[in-house]
Amino acid sequence: MLHELPLVIFTIIAQMSVGSFVVLGLIHLFGARAGRDVIDKVSDPALYAIGPILVLGLLASMLHLGTPIRAINALRHLDSSWLSREILFGLLFAALGGAFASCQWFKWLTPGLRQALAGLTALVGLGLVWSMANVYLLPTVPAWNSWATVVRFFATTFLLGSLAVGAVLVVTAEVRRRRGSALDEVSDRVIMSSLRGITIAAIAMLGVEFVVLPIYLGELATEGSAAATASVGALVTTHGGYAVVQLVLVFLGVALLGVFLSRLVERPGSAVQAQLFAIVPVAAFVLVFAGEIIGRMLFYASYVRAGL
């Protein structure tokens, strides 16, 4: 199960970064009514957190290399290798994201131009996830060479992106409250409606993952080649226990958030709920993050190649 650990970290972190960026963008779009300043104040800390995490992820990918000093050579075969394209999109996403975060921090450019830059960054980020998935569509590896790889990578992107943003939003609010610099009521409402949207997105992505998995396994099990059969054995038999833990963790995380939020709507304002407010979204994120890490480890553990 410890195959390719640097790649597990790299792919999960890069996808979470893209997802977070897109979710922050959606919060800006849907929250426009509350006013740009309010949204900026609420969401900028999350934006600034993406950068260092993404850089860590990119560095982790270099640990996979035999000769990391020449890592830049990976950009030399853009016309044919998805791995080259993945690295290009990764660097572009990091650079554009960094530029956008700087513009937000120093208030460079007009708000309109900043928004255009953010849109471009989000598109490049989605391109990163797309090329990432394509790296694994090798005709010689039936367990990876599936539409499910693409769908699952995007589901991970939006699931982790949503929950990561949710966690950072409540932690930021809590830190500000303790410092005595709590935001106004409008900001609180933005956080609440963001959390609601995040929970709905997380439930939807959970649904996608739970529907895709049995279809994918069924296709793999009936594909017929020795490599596909061996991959099913690895996923269901050898590492079947991990698969169960993965599903339970992801389900618990999303369910926890959903139940908490519905209670909050039913009986707003109780003291216990205020205490839990900062904890539950973070716990939900931790559970789902752990589940997704195990899921990605299983993805690499399912590698069996056709032929010799």
Binding site: A74, L75, H77, T140, R305, G307
Partner: protein
């Protein structure tokens, strides 16, 4: 021979072949693995790095004679010696992000150790396990068709070492004229994937790629 003359010989050989290929006679191979060891010795390969491997493919069981009620064994095993097949459509070159993997002289698939970053993507992709990662060098390594031997007019180490004379090499068109065009035998993959420059004379129990009911008996060795 001095280095200088060696270089001249190599130069003279640049256009000797359009496309080199290997031939293996499965029907006569005893699975002794002398080819594998000769390759390891000639190229001084460390433990875990193998440029030529011998796959042992086994299967079968008991079949019942209904009229007599008796059983007889129909087990089989055959061997396939495989190195890099210097394919026509090499998936390793397609996926390599650095262009380190390339088609060189005589159609030999080579790796530039000064460009390779050791990402091992070619190793994931190649259905013949041809590219081998060298932990000591931090880059991929692979069969170079013993181009130094060829330049001296000698056979590749594997071909020269075979006591059963089941290996041959040469211009792929000549090999195909002489031995046929079969390359899709279990446990090797469907040749349509990479179009290997390999010709096999099948063993009498050989099964077609994708239609095998046996298993690779020595997975740790290949």
């Amino acid at each position: 021979m001095t280095d200088m003359t060696k270089a001249n010989v190599t130069k003279a050989n640049v256009t000797k072949y359009k496309q080199l290929g290997f031939y293996v006679d499965q029907a006569s191979c005893t699975g002794c693995k002398a080819c594998q060891i000769a390759c390891k010795d000639k190229n001084d390969l460390p433990v875990g790095v193998t440029w030529r491997r011998v796959a042992e493919y086994s299967g079968g069981g008991w079949s019942q004679d209904q009229s007599q009620g008796t059983f007889k064994a129909n087990v089989f095993t055959y061997y396939t010696s495989v190195s890099c097949n210097h394919c026509e459509d090499p998936i390793c070159i397609r996926v390599c992000p650095t262009k380190a993997m390339h088609k060189g002289i005589d159609g030999v698939v080579g790796i530039d150790p000064t460009a390779c970053i050791g990402c091992r993507y070619c190793e994931w992709a190649c259905p013949y396990s041809a590219p081998a990662f060298s932990a000591a060098k931090g880059v991929m390594t692979k069969c170079d068709f013993c181009q130094d031997y060829l330049a001296e007019g000698r056979d590749p180490a594997c071909v020269a070492a075979c006591p059963s004379r089941v290996l041959d090499f040469g211009e792929i068109d000549d090999l195909r004229k002489k031995y046929g065009t079969t390359a899709g035998i279990e446990p090797l993959p469907d040749p349509a994937i990479t179009k290997p420059h390999l010709v096999i004379t099948p063993h009498k129990d050989a099964q077609k790629s994708g239609h095998g009911d046996g298993t690779l008996a020595n997975p740790a060795e290949v």
